[in-house]
């Protein structure tokens, strides 16, 4: 089965052209998304609520928060705050039949921006088989350390990633390959299951 592409010619039935030339398009995350997510999923409130909880209770609370954060982000990002990057990403996934890594990455990025807008993070690898997400400055980690809490905050991140993968339908292996405490960055590696 070949694409049937003729040298230098466009493939007519797959060609995307400007839908409304001249119309400004919004490719970035909306400030409103950040405001709404932060109002409902506030890191400071979460950290406050963890005080006095046992390790197990705190871990569960972090997981619940992560799941709620991602579900809220997805709900808002796919409706009220849908952006052109997200729309194009879905068009491309439909045209190629490939979902990973960018549909999943979109939710991970938006949830991070919306809940911790001042954090420093990076996408270190994004292939069709593997995605590597690194966080070098994390406001949750910092707030927990300042409050003297030692519960593993990765529970929040991992629960949020699970919720994102559930939404995109990508079957992923998720691994925390580096930690802020030990390596100076948190690194999460997501690989597509064979």
């Amino acid at each position: 089965m070949t694409l049937g592409w003729k040298y230098s010619r466009p493939i007519k039935d797959r060609l995307l052209t400007l839908e409304e030339p001249g119309k400004p398009l919004k490719f970035d995350a909306e400030r409103g998304l950040v405001d709404e997510v932060m109002a409902q999923c506030d890191i400071k409130v979460l950290v406050e609520s963890l005080k006095g909880k046992s390790e197990k209770e705190a871990e569960q609370a972090l997981m619940n928060f992560g799941k709620r954060l991602m579900e809220l982000t997805i709900e808002l990002a796919d409706t009220k705050y849908m952006d052109r990057t997200g729309e194009m990403l879905e068009i491309v996934a439909k045209q190629t039949g490939i979902s990973f890594p960018h549909r999943f990455e979109r939710y991970v990025e938006l949830a991070t921006l919306a809940s911790r807008p001042t954090d420093r993070w990076n996408i270190a690898k994004a292939t069709t088989k593997e995605l590597v997400f690194q966080v070098s400055s994390c406001s949750l980690n910092k707030a927990m350390a300042e409050a003297g809490l030692t519960s593993p905050c990765k529970a929040m991140c991992l629960a949020s990633f699970d919720a994102a993968a559930a939404k995109t339908g990508d079957k992923l292996n998720m691994e925390m390959t580096k930690t802020l405490a030990k390596d100076g960055i948190c690194e999460f590696t997501f690989s597509l299951q064979p």
Partner: protein, 278 residues
Amino acid sequence: MCDWCEKYGDGYERWYFNPANYARRLYKIRREEAESSGAETNPQAAGGMAVIGPDFQEARDQGDLEKMQEIKQKAEAASWLTHFGQVITLEEALKIADMIYPIGLMTCSCRRSMQGYPSEENFTCMGMGPGMYKWERWPDTYRGGMHYLTPDEAKEVITKMNKRGLVQTVFTFGTPYLAGLCNCDYPDCAFIRTTVDFGIKLLWKGHYVAKIDPELCTGCASCVSRCQFKALNYSPSKNMAYIDQFQCFGCGLCVTECDQGAISLVERAKLPALANVW
């Protein structure tokens, strides 16, 4: 090893096999003020093709070598920061197509500006990576539109272009971010022209050099017209093709053309005289 492999290879055999050089965030928080969307935000317009102007030609006509050198250095420095390319082999291009997503087939801005090709006859360029989701931001660069390809489809398209005699290259868009997998030839490609005709290195040589086996060459000369870098010639007295290895960019187009298997690629690094000729 080229400068870019040393700086951005991070343990990979070549810097363009390092996935980090293709990975970028999809998002930032939108600024309140109007976003700039013009040429000043587009590395392709800001660097590369716009780095030399008529002043270079004037200096050349006047034989002002000092001025030429000054313009050349400025042009190269600007280009290497924003938008420059390196030649790769077909095999390397196919490996990249398997690794990076998404890949979009688009019109070539060089062929548009150099030869005036209409969009419907100019789908020979490929963009790759997360920036491809935002192609509508630069409608002029992506004139004619865009269609996306699966890795297998991209490999089919690249192979077809190689067969037609186009050289595979990778291009940065804000070095070291690699986002262009181009299919170039002379004189259409602005980068090949600037590099070969003016000696301004906007396109780096690849990691290989072609070599002819005189025992196998029949002198058919079919390889000569495939060379886009003026490195291959035919010697009527010897009835044989010969290669100026200092001029060879290591694309391998001559290799795929030779039915006799008389041409092969050798690693530049293994040839002491050429190891640092980029």
